[in-house]
């Protein structure tokens, strides 16, 4: 039997206590590094197997499907696993110096341990084919991320973590209620089995109220976790006050995994083509468009640049959910692809924020004056990340926007296309404020101080991301292929 699916979760989960046992920050970092790289390798192997063999299924403890917990991996999970473990593998080399500076020495082993637990949780959500197991992993990742955010160096990090805790718990509870209702309907927790029972007992066609309620709870709960527009309030604070590494990690993975869950429940459980999915598309349309426009406008007025990027994340999540609400093949693939591309660009941008705060101490707009000259590599990386965010051709951001616009055109939603493009223009404005300050506002003579370029261990992962942003803008065949197949699978039902 192929043990790759369980390895994906078990490696970070087992490495987490090791970090605390050894209680040395260097060893803890090394263990975490090894664990994340191993996870990344596993995710690559899984992806390779999914491509060659087809979907993987793994029964934990040998218990077969409806009774035991089954891990089930198809194109969609494999893609999300790749995003999550790949980002963690890239963040870890970056983490050492940044964490050393931002978190006091005694807490560092705990920090790494929590990071691993969070990673295990996110990967667990993605591999599992069991609804309740998914909830358990969701709590695992959420609880650890509350603690991680609370470790930020400013005291406001604690309020931010608390705010996230309240909102996140409400969301998780809603999800749990939804899963419970599904269980009461079908007597099963296995996602495939739930879907089978719903169809076999003809619950789906009969506008069953319990089913509607279950999905109302699940959708709202997940919308909280993925920060869909009016439910995004926890996100800006959490992202701006968390330690740099946590922001990079969560921004590029956590919301993506929540979107993955939404896709799983909407498509794999209910199946496509049902009246339910059609109405959900309409429900998501308005918040998505509102996110794209309103969050971008709010981002323009932020002076804390990390916060600005956080609002931009809310807007970008709008693009992903917009892809979902288009609910045709093109839109769904665009949404799935944008999970990947957004991880690339936001990961990169938050990495540059980490480097700036490493050298300058904070990331207010005024801190960026003259940085174009003093931190040339970091700021060049910021410019490229910004271009990707705007969706300039030959960057990754362009590919997903193109696909999204194409899908909207298929549906004939011209007004939506206009809003997508307005969103791009707003991105130009908020990115350009920073670029203009960094390159064209020199420091006054009096405050001239020596700020050097960020250390190499920060620059190398950052520039790997730069290369990825450009490479996947020029040749996007691999992610596009994955996204399209995943979308086709979802629409075809499981």
């Amino acid at each position: 039997m192929n043990h790759l699916p369980i390895l994906q979760v078990i490696i970070p989960l087992l490495a987490a206590p090791l970090c605390i046992i050894f209680a040395s920050r260097r060893l803890a970092w090394l263990i975490t590094l090894a664990a994340t790289w191993a996870s990344f390798a596993v995710s690559l192997l899984i992806a390779q197997q999914v491509v060659t063999v087809g979907a993987l299924s793994y029964d934990i403890g040998g218990w077969p499907a409806p009774w035991g917990i089954t891990y089930y991996i198809d194109y969609l999970n494999a893609f999300v696993l790749f995003i999550v473990s790949g980002m963690s593998a890239l963040v870890l080399p970056y983490a050492f110096k940044s964490v050393q500076q931002e978190i006091d020495a005694a807490s560092q082993p705990y920090f790494y341990s929590l990071l691993l637990v969070c990673l295990a949780g996110l990967l667990g959500i993605t591999v599992t084919g069991d609804a309740f197991n998914m909830y358990v992993f969701l709590e695992l990742s959420s609880l650890s991320s509350y603690a991680l955010i609370g470790m930020g160096s400013r005291r406001r990090a604690l309020t931010a973590a608390y705010q996230y805790l309240v909102m996140g718990t409400i969301g998780a509870t809603f999800i749990l209620i939804g899963i419970g209702l599904l269980y009461s309907l079908t007597g099963s927790l296995n996602i495939q089995d739930i879907s089978y029972q719903l169809h076999a007992n003809q619950i789906i066609g009969s506008s069953n109220r319990t089913l509607l309620t279950a999905f109302a709870f699940i959708t709202v709960g997940l919308s909280l976790k993925l920060a869909l527009f009016p439910l995004h309030l926890w996100l800006p604070n959490a992202y701006s006050y968390a330690p740099s590494v946590v922001t990079i990690f969560l921004a590029s993975t956590a919301t993506k995994v929540a979107i993955y869950m939404l896709l799983r429940f909407c498509y794999s459980v209910v199946g496509s083509g049902s009246i339910f999915q059609v109405s959900l598309g309409k429900i998501f349309l308005l918040p998505s468009l509102a996110a794209i426009i309103i969050a971008s406008v709010v981002a323009i007025f932020q002076y804390d640049i990390k916060r600005m990027l956080a609002y931009s994340s809310v807007a970008q999540i709008g693009y992903m959910t917009l892809g979902l609400s288009l609910s045709n093949l093109g839109g769904l693939s665009a949404g799935i692809l944008h999970m990947f591309n957004h991880a690339l660009m936001k990961g990169l941008l938050f990495m540059t924020m980490g480097a700036v705060s490493y050298r300058v101490g904070s990331v207010y707009l005024t801190d960026f004056r003259g940085l174009g000259r003093r931190m040339p590599f970091t700021m060049a990386a910021f410019v490229i990340g910004g271009l990707s965010l705007m969706g300039v051709p030959s960057t990754a951001g362009f590919v997903s926007k193109w696909m999204l616009v194409q899908a909207a055109m298929e549906r004939g939603w011209w007004d939506v296309i206009v809003l997508i493009l307005i969103g791009s223009l707003l991105a130009v404005i908020y990115v350009w404020r920073v670029v203009e300050t960094a390159y064209f506002n020199p420091l006054l003579e009096l405050e001239e101080e020596e700020v050097g370029e960020a250390p190499l261990s920060l620059l190398v992962p950052m520039w790997l991301m730069v290369i990825a942003n450009i490479y996947f803008g020029i040749d996007s065949s691999i992610p596009v292929n994955f996204a399209q197949r995943a979308a086709a699978l979802l629409l075809g039902g499981m």
């Binding site: 590919v399 055109m409 130009v428 040749d475 065949s477």
Partner: protein, 488 residues
């Protein structure tokens, strides 16, 4: 070396040049040496393309494939070769001029300027060689972004706000109109490749064609059709070499170049003539020609006057190609060349006057011709070219465009050209007259002669080229004539 490699080198040489310039930032002499070498190398490569008989019949090169059915393609066609030749030749001359200007005025951030110049040229080459709309769009945006630091070079309040207007208008028109237009074309045809005779189907409704044409016309903000011309005068806050090369040659010519390509290769003459949509473009361009000339009359700042003159001259090209007669298309293509040489000379002269005499206003130029005879002589030649008088290159393009206007039997167009020729004369010749024949106001002048020699050499060279192009117009005319067959 195969022709394919030569095409790729056209973009790679200036791109790599930018890296070398960055690397040699500590040694100004080496840095300038690298700039000149790069420019020379690029010019040689483009010249070599002229000698290749197979260059214009090359299979398109697929550079990358970001999405299925959406490749990045490089391909060479007559107009692209013409544009690449002009840009590379004038970059070489401008590099020489820039060195004189930057050193003469002790400008700061010189390395950034040279780097951005090289990247802008790489983008210009990319535009010239683009084989489909999406490749064109990539380089078009890259050109906007790489020229922004040049416009905002001085970093003072005016420069930064000028830069904002520049970037704001160019990016918002291209993302807001050009990109949707490209997507629309892709949606209609499943391709964005430039196709001789037009890519779009011949049975589209006139309304759709007109809307799409307008989206392209205003989406290509660099062609400066009114009312989105504002970025061009704003960009005049840039140092003069930047204004000269970018806002007389690379950027604005990229704009009209895109316009010509879109009209001929995407719409095609038949589609536009059958639906009558080209009349819309003709009216907009005609309006721009006359209005911009009138505004130019009222400008006292020399560079702003030249900027408005550029706006009006660009619309000559748009109008000429929109007429869609063979002669006018030839004239449009030739005007890209002749206006480039003429206008760059005028800007060079303006920069030389600023460097030697620190004057920026037309009203201060009385008698300056006696102190700077070569500069003002070059200015005179270039003015003749702008007006369209022999023996300057502008005559040939105007001759062709006029013939096209006559054969299309549209008296309004003829009237626009008559009117604008008069206006051109009245905003340029008074400067020449004042420079040579009016008495200089003593207290305004400190004692100065010509500008530093690299600048004088450069501006004499371009003025000379304007004359050469009148007597030996074969190469550009030949390429331009090839183009006129393409539209059908």
């Amino acid at each position: 070396m195969s022709t394919t490699v030569l095409l790729e080198l056209c973009i790679l040489i200036p791109a790599c040049g930018a890296l070398f310039i960055a690397a040699s930032s500590r040694f100004p002499n080496l840095r300038e040496g690298v700039t000149i070498t790069t420019a020379l190398g690029l010019f040689c490569v483009v010249a070599a393309l002229h000698l290749r008989p197979d260059a214009l019949h090359l299979a398109p090169i697929v550079v990358a494939q970001p999405l299925p059915g959406l490749p990045f393609i490089l391909a060479l066609e007559p107009l692209g070769l013409l544009f690449a030749s002009i840009a590379s030749l004038l970059w070489l001359i401008t590099s020489l001029y820039t060195i004189g200007y930057m050193r003469g005025n002790n400008e700061s951030h010189q390395t950034r300027l040279y780097i951005c110049f090289a990247i802008a040229l790489a983008s210009t080459m990319g535009i010239a060689l683009a084989g489909n709309l999406i490749t064109l769009f990539v380089f078009y945006e890259l050109l906007t972004l790489s020229t922004y630091p040049l416009v905002a070079h001085k970093q003072d309040h005016d420069a930064i706000s000028g830069g904002r207007v520049y970037l704001g208008i160019l990016i918002s028109t291209s993302v807001g109109l050009l990109l949707p237009a490209i997507i629309w074309v892709w949606h209609l045809t499943g391709s964005t490749t430039f196709t001789a005779g037009g890519l779009l189907a011949k049975d589209l409704s006139p309304v759709l064609v007109t809307v799409l044409l307008l989206m392209f016309a205003y989406g290509i903000g660099k062609a400066a059709l009114m009312p989105i011309h504002r970025w061009l005068p704003e960009a005049m806050v840039a140092p003069t070499p930047v204004s000269a090369l970018l806002h007389a040659v690379a950027v604005v010519k990229a704009g009209v170049f895109c316009m010509v390509k879109v009209v001929l290769y995407i719409f095609g003459a038949d589609l536009l003539l059958n639906t009558g949509s080209n009349m819309v473009l003709i009216y907009i361009a005609g309006f721009t020609i006359v209005t911009a000339s009138i505004i130019a009359l009222r400008q006292d700042n020399l560079k702003r006057r030249l900027a408005y003159s550029t706006i009006s001259q660009l619309s000559y090209i748009t109008l000429a190609v929109a007429m869609l007669t063979p002669q006018s298309i030839t004239g449009a293509a030739f005007h890209i060349a002749s206006h480039a040489f003429g206008k760059i000379t005028l800007f060079f002269a303006a920069g030389a006057i600023y460097t030697a005499a620190h004057k920026t206003r037309v009203s201060e130029l009385n008698g300056i011709g006696r102190r700077m005879p070569l500069t003002m002589l070059a200015f005179t030649v270039a003015s003749l070219s702008m007006i369209g008088l022999p023996p300057a290159a502008g005559f040939i393009s105007k001759w062709n465009i006029f013939q096209g206007a006559m054969s299309s039997d549209n008296l309004l167009i003829v009237a626009v050209f008559m009117c604008s020729t008069l206006l051109n004369t009245s905003y340029l010749l008074p400067i020449v007259y004042a420079a040579f024949f009016k008495k200089e106001v003593q207290h305004l002048h400190h004692d100065h002669g010509e500008a530093p020699w690299p600048m004088v050499v450069a501006l004499c060279a371009t003025a000379l080229l304007t004359l050469v192009l009148f007597f030996w117009p074969q190469i550009p005319l030949h390429l331009a004539a090839q183009l006129s067959g393409v539209g059908r």
